[in-house]
């Protein structure tokens, strides 16, 4: 996939550090993501991928450095922070659909309460999105009645309903049975094709090759490589990336 036209970055992460106690989880991490760009983040367990994602919508605080979205630095609390989070969609490994609400209510809650849409308008849009991810016929069910793949697609629709500028995916297919992985990846590939800016933590190489503009390889809290998917998978530079790839390839 070709590089999108180089414009001002939508997301700028500059020299971010994060500790958990004595553990240095993010070390001077810097990353720029342009509008429409799809970045896959890959790396061994514990390398800080989730922490980076969570820091971007401030589910996790950072020690120093800056994270700027669309020109505005992330506020540390209050209404500004809520607004920022509304602009950044997040899809979790464990779906985290609201268990007490129906599928439709899951998707309309944010638009009604945060975007102040009328219930009718929110439902109309929610149904369009649920249709797009292929679960419109489940709208009146509760999350527990859906398969994992269906739940994750609802979670994507819930995030999209906020019309985010940026979508974060933290291992969206890792909790899924193998036969359900593709239905979720297909939705994500569709989003990427439509020009959504996405940061995706995943080990799904097929997705990275098909949909990503860049692959960022993290190890021990550092960004070790930042390159194109084919470069990364076919000609990794660093010893750590080579070792990591040989491990996931031999399974």
């Amino acid at each position: 996939m070709g590089q999108p036209a180089q414009t001002d970055s939508l997301l700028v992460i500059e020299r971010v550090n994060k500790h958990f106690g004595a553990l240095h989880v993010l070390k001077e991490v810097s990353l720029r993501v342009a509008p429409g760009e799809v970045v896959v983040v890959i790396g061994p367990s514990g390398s800080g991928k989730s922490t980076l994602c969570r820091a971007i919508n401030r589910l996790e605080t950072i020690d120093d450095g800056t994270i700027t979205i669309d020109g505005a630095e992330i506020p540390s609390e209050g209404a500004g922070l809520a607004t920022l989070r509304a602009d950044v969609g997040m899809v979790f490994q464990s779906f985290n659909l609201f268990a007490h609400l129906t599928v439709l209510e899951n998707v309309t809650l944010g638009p009604i309460k945060v975007r102040k849409l009328s219930k009718a308008a929110a439902e109309e849009r929610a149904l369009v999105l649920l249709n797009r991810v292929g679960v419109a016929n489940q709208a009146q069910k509760h999350p527990a009645q859906l398969s994992g793949g269906q739940q994750q697609r609802v979670a994507i629709a819930r995030a999209l309903a906020m019309e985010p500028k940026l979508m974060l995916f933290d291992e969206p297919t890792s909790a899924l049975d193998p036969e359900m992985i593709n239905e979720v990846l297909d939705v994500m590939i569709g989003l990427a094709k439509d020009g959504m800016t996405m940061i995706v933590v995943t080990h799904e190489m097929g997705f990275a090759r098909k949909a990503a503009h860049r692959v960022v390889f993290m190890a021990d809290g550092e960004i070790v490589e930042d390159t194109t998917p084919s470069e990364f998978f076919d000609r990794p530079n660093s010893p750590r990336a080579k070792e990591f790839l040989s491990k996931i390839l031999t399974g």
Binding site: A82, R85, N96, F98, K113
Partner: protein, 215 residues
């Protein structure tokens, strides 16, 4: 048993006061408990600490001591409460932390991912608590809340030592006037308590079963 039917008005007077204390205290202490529980999970450290201190102090103080404090210390500070108002204040101060703890344990039973998902779509702290966490916590919170209300029903009897005419006061007056029928008098008192507490317990059981089915 004639002593019961013969003195029904007195029993009913005590029963009415007990019920009144119970209802008013619940109506004030329950929202207060919600606020304390919310403070204990709030992002602001000073709120968390003050709520925790309040909870620990009141939960570990005998209720009678709270009444004594009001009856003897407040007048020294120049404040004097009407006996019934004083009883309601003491019962509320004492019961709110128990409500708060019941609510907090229910909140803790909701997976953190629920609150994270709520925050990630832009809901603020209050919206996250009210729209996502509490509705799910309610399921596990109702049975312990009912237990607190049952304990409160019995705790209202402490007020009778502080010039409020509750069921127990009715029992005391009738017992001293009818020394030969003390047992019947006391059984009568117990029956009136049971009229309140058994339906509450039944409700908790019913709710638990209903939730078990719909979950």
């Amino acid at each position: 048993m004639g002593v019961i039917s013969g003195n029904l008005p007195l029993y009913l007077q005590g029963f009415g006061t007990t019920l009144f204390l119970l209802l008013i205290t619940t109506v004030i202490a329950l929202p207060l408990g919600v606020v304390i529980a919310a403070m204990r999970i709030s992002p602001i450290a000073s709120l968390r600490t003050s709520a925790a201190v309040y909870t620990e102090v009141l939960r570990n103080t005998p209720l009678t001591l709270v009444f004594f404090f009001e009856a003897f210390v407040l007048p020294k500070l120049g404040t004097r409460l009407d006996f019934e108002v004083g009883a309601i204040v003491a019962l509320t101060l004492y019961t709110a932390p128990f409500f708060a703890e019941a609510i907090r344990s229910g909140i803790n039973s909701v997976p953190v991912g629920q609150a994270e998902a709520a925050r990630s779509i832009g809901l603020g702290f209050t919206q996250t608590v009210m729209l996502v966490v509490l509705p799910q916590a309610i399921r596990s919170v109702i049975p312990p809340l009912v237990n607190v209300i049952i304990a409160l029903t019995k705790n209202t009897s402490v007020a009778s030592g502080f010039f409020v005419f509750t069921l127990v006061s009715a029992g005391q007056r009738l017992a001293s006037a009818n020394g030969d029928q003390v047992i019947a008098v006391l059984v009568g008192v117990a029956v009136f308590y049971v009229i309140i507490t058994i339906p509450l317990g039944r409700f908790a059981d019913w709710f638990e079963k209903r939730v078990a089915v719909t979950r």
